[in-house]
């Protein structure tokens, strides 16, 4: 079947946003199969607009297609209307570059960005006609299924579906995986899969789950996950030691359909040193590695003309920490002002410096200002090690209101360890103060404060990995406290919060074990997909699956672990020491804060041998 033909003639006219499915975007790269020595389909288990916003995809895509003899093509989860049409017409999931079915690729890589996308992974495998479980793919006919990205730090709930995981930075490790695989290909197909896997498992960052067994004692208590040949083997995360010299894409693929982040992204640094105790990304991407201003300017010089975008976003977990941020912003404005290219900073700290930075670049007052105090009381902010005081926040906001901003968004979390109702009320009090402050400064302008409250989900490799998540009812109760008291002072404040049902499932999967794979397969079989989209999430189907398999979600989500307990992800090694995390957890209970490690190493254990924090300038602190 000529997939392109069928799609064009029969299907595109009948689906929403057909531009998602046509490929051919500017800078997309089509290599004929015989022109490359190894091929990988990069699968993003969410809709095109979300996937095309992902920097990791652009980095790996450029890296493989530009600098290696291998090829990478893109695949996204079709929106349900398209998914159904493809099933009806028996069109297998295909890549946007060559319109080849996934089964023709020796390697398939899924990026694991959030737990609630797991059912989409299964739906994509199904549409591709690939058996879900690695044990059913042992012969050479099927591609190797690889997972990577933040959720790979505890891949156990999806381990039976994958042949290998790549944990840590993908750049160098993926190239190594493709080089090894190329040697095992004959006529584009893998030969001797078992030996290939053996060889791949030697690459740093690679975890081959079938080589590990999860063991439980007779009472069903988890003992550990061990490598068959050597029980002490741990999987170490892969890491780009020199980000400055590492490849960065300039010929990025420009989506036709508006992506969620549809702009140039300049990655100014990787990692974060604040050490917020709830933050998994902060631990996963340690240590901090910056790029120099010079390198970033060189990148932008090629990026701008090759893309045609009119907005450069300085991205990282915490761009205001970048030691060169002021200089970089100034120089970029200088260079690109008359080209009408704007500069934006997606993540800002709560401080006056950030407000001044924003003033420099944000000519558009219409876009709101975003702050993340994360918790409503000082006590709680000390618990989570968010080094921000109420005064910091109010001073920054004063600056923002004075500079003319009218819309402010505040991010908070509920369900944090040791939280009391007073802390919940603290969110209200603080938001109220912000609103009054805005009103007193603005004199008649219409101030809007949006309070966005998410439910805390404990994540592996954070100090709170031992903490049991609040129950759904408790989260709802806390949301109701917020709702009731917000109602009292009417307009000007809007509240948004997460669907607690989803937060609990996320909590279960984040700290789950391999047994949850059965659950995922069950809900997949009942048709679940796009679970992170409220309009598609089907609670009934999940409830039925729990009942059928006798699995208790609360056993996972609400579980408190002890120091002696083996954690389901103990065989993975991110470099951050478990003892460090435990110590942080204990300190949190005493509201004892840990300083930013740019101001002095706090001993997390990541920096060893030639792995070092890499800062290019003077840190403001």
């Amino acid at each position: 079947m000529d997939i392109r033909q069928v799609i064009t003639d029969k299907i595109l006219a009948q689906v929403d946003k057909p531009g998602r499915y046509i490929g051919g975007e500017w800078n997309s790269v089509v290599k004929e199969k015989d022109q490359s020595q190894c091929q990988i389909a990069f699968c993003f288990p969410d809709v095109y607009e979300v996937g095309m916003s992902h920097l990791g995809l652009q980095i790996l895509y450029g890296l493989i297609n530009e600098t290696t003899p291998y090829a990478m093509e893109r695949v996204f989860m079709p929106w349900p209307d398209m998914y159904q049409k493809m099933e009806e017409n028996k069109i297998p999931l295909y890549s946007l570059e060559s319109f080849r079915p996934l089964t023709e690729f020796p390697l398939i890589g899924f990026t694991l960005q959030y737990e609630m996308s797991y059912t989409n992974i299964l739906a994509m495998l199904k549409l591709a006609g690939i058996p879900l479980r690695n044990k059913d793919r042992e012969n050479d006919d099927y591609p190797l299924i690889i997972g990577g990205g933040p959720c790979s730090v505890n891949p156990e709930p999806i381990a039976p579906f994958f042949d290998l995981f790549l944990i840590g930075d993908g750049e160098e490790a993926l190239k190594a995986i493709m080089t090894v695989t190329a040697n095992y290909l004959k006529l584009g197909k893998i030969t001797d899969k078992q030996n290939l896997l053996k060889e791949l498992s030697m690459i740093r960052g690679v975890y081959v789950p079938k080589d590990y067994k999860a063991e439980y004692d007779n009472a069903g208590k988890y003992i550990g996950t061990y490598n068959f040949s050597d029980s002490k083997i741990k999987v170490k995360k892969a890491l780009v030691k020199n980000l400055e010299e590492s490849y960065y894409p300039t010929k990025i693929v420009i989506p036709f359909v508006d992506a969620v982040h549809d702009r140039m992204m300049l990655e100014v640094l990787r990692g974060c040193t604040h050490g917020c105790r709830f933050c998994q990304a902060g631990m996963y991407y340690r240590p901090v590695r910056e790029k120099s201003v010079r390198r970033l300017l060189t990148i932008s010089e090629s990026l701008v003309p090759a893309s045609g975008y009119d907005d450069i976003s300085l991205t990282s977990l915490s761009t205001a920490d970048y030691t060169g941020v002021e200089e970089l912003v100034k120089l970029l404005i200088q260079r690109y002002e008359d080209k009408k290219i704007s500069i934006s900073l997606p993540s800002l700290r709560v401080d006056t410096f950030s407000v001044n930075l924003a003033k420099m670049i944000q000519k558009v007052k219409k876009t709101g200002f975003t702050f993340a105090p994360e918790a409503g009381t000082q006590r709680m902010r000390d618990v989570i090690n968010k080094g921000v005081t109420e005064e910091d926040l109010l001073v920054s906001l004063e600056g923002a209101f004075n500079a003319g901003w009218e819309r402010v968004k505040l991010y908070f979390m509920i369900g944090l360890p040791g939280e009391t109702d007073e802390d919940i009320m603290g969110i209200i009090k603080l938001s109220k103060k912000v609103l009054s402050l805005g009103r007193s400064i603005s004199k008649g302008r219409n101030i809007k404060v949006t309070v966005s409250v998410s439910s805390f989900v404990p994540k592996p490799f954070t100090p709170f990995q031992w903490f049991g998540q609040n129950s759904r009812d408790e989260l709802i109760r806390k949301q109701n406290i917020l709702k009731d008291s917000l109602r009292e002072f009417g307009k000007g404040l809007t509240l948004s919060y997460h669907y607690s049902e989803l937060s609990v499932l996320e909590g279960m999967l984040a700290r789950g074990d391999r047994k949850l794979a059965d659950l995922l397969e069950e809900v997949h079989n009942s048709g679940c997909m796009f679970d992170s989209w409220d309009e598609f999430f089907d609670k009934d189907k999940w409830d039925k699956a729990f009942f059928k398999l006798g699995i208790d979600r609360r056993f996972y989500s609400e579980r408190f672990f002890d120091l002696e307990d083996n954690l389901y992800w103990d065989h993975i090694d991110l470099g951050v020491k478990k003892s460090y995390l435990w110590n942080e957890y204990q300190k949190s209970k005493e509201q004892n804060i840990t300083k930013d490690c740019r101001l002095g190493c706090t001993g997390c254990g990541v920096c060893v041998d030639d792995i070092k924090m890499d800062i290019k300038g003077q840190y403001r602190g």
């Binding site: 064009t8 595109l12 006219a13 946003k17 057909p18 531009g19 046509i22 490929g23 051919g24 975007e25 500017w26 420009i254 036709f256 359909v257 508006d258 003309p305 090759a306 893309s307 045609g308 975008y309 009119d310 080209k339 009408k340 000519k363 558009v364 007052k365 219409k366």
Partner: protein
Amino acid sequence: MANYVMEFQVLDNMAYLSHLELMKVFRQAFRRSGLKVSFSEGFNPHMKLSFAIAKGVGLKSTGELLEIEVQEDIDINKCLFSINNSLPEGLKINIIKNKGSNKKSLSAMLKKARYSLSGDEDTLNRVWHKLEVEDIMVHVKTKRKEEVKNLKEYIASVEKGDGKILITVFAGSEKNLRIEYLLNYLSENITVKREKLLNETQAIIDEF
């Protein structure tokens, strides 16, 4: 400052882009080509670029029109080359013309649009007969209202071409036929393409 008109083609899968997506592609392509398009003033500057008419999703065309204002006069041939080198496959500028002193916007000039319908001989014969009838009454539903329309009133001329039928319909702000209505009525397996955008008498591009 100078104004230019460009006639362009939308072929293959590019036909499936929405009007806004298509505008975005052109804005980006102009930037990539180095063309110095003028911007509006204000906090949120916009490229001075407009299309004669939006094109329905899925419709192919060889004769769409857009106009731009640029900061300085351009070398038309060089520009044609560099813009076409900055457009994805399936999009192509046919011709660029200086708008000169003509101040009228393309959308104001637009009165008609010519489409070609192609298919096998039998189909085209059936289409021809279906178009010959006195009245073509159809029920149309828009977001705002439902009504019965006589499509014949919107058809300016129909002629047989080489293996296709050429049909010219009214288009623009005063009287406009959405070609989808006609295709629904015909409900035949034919390929439609927009060939040209016209004013009262001729192709708009030939005005310049």
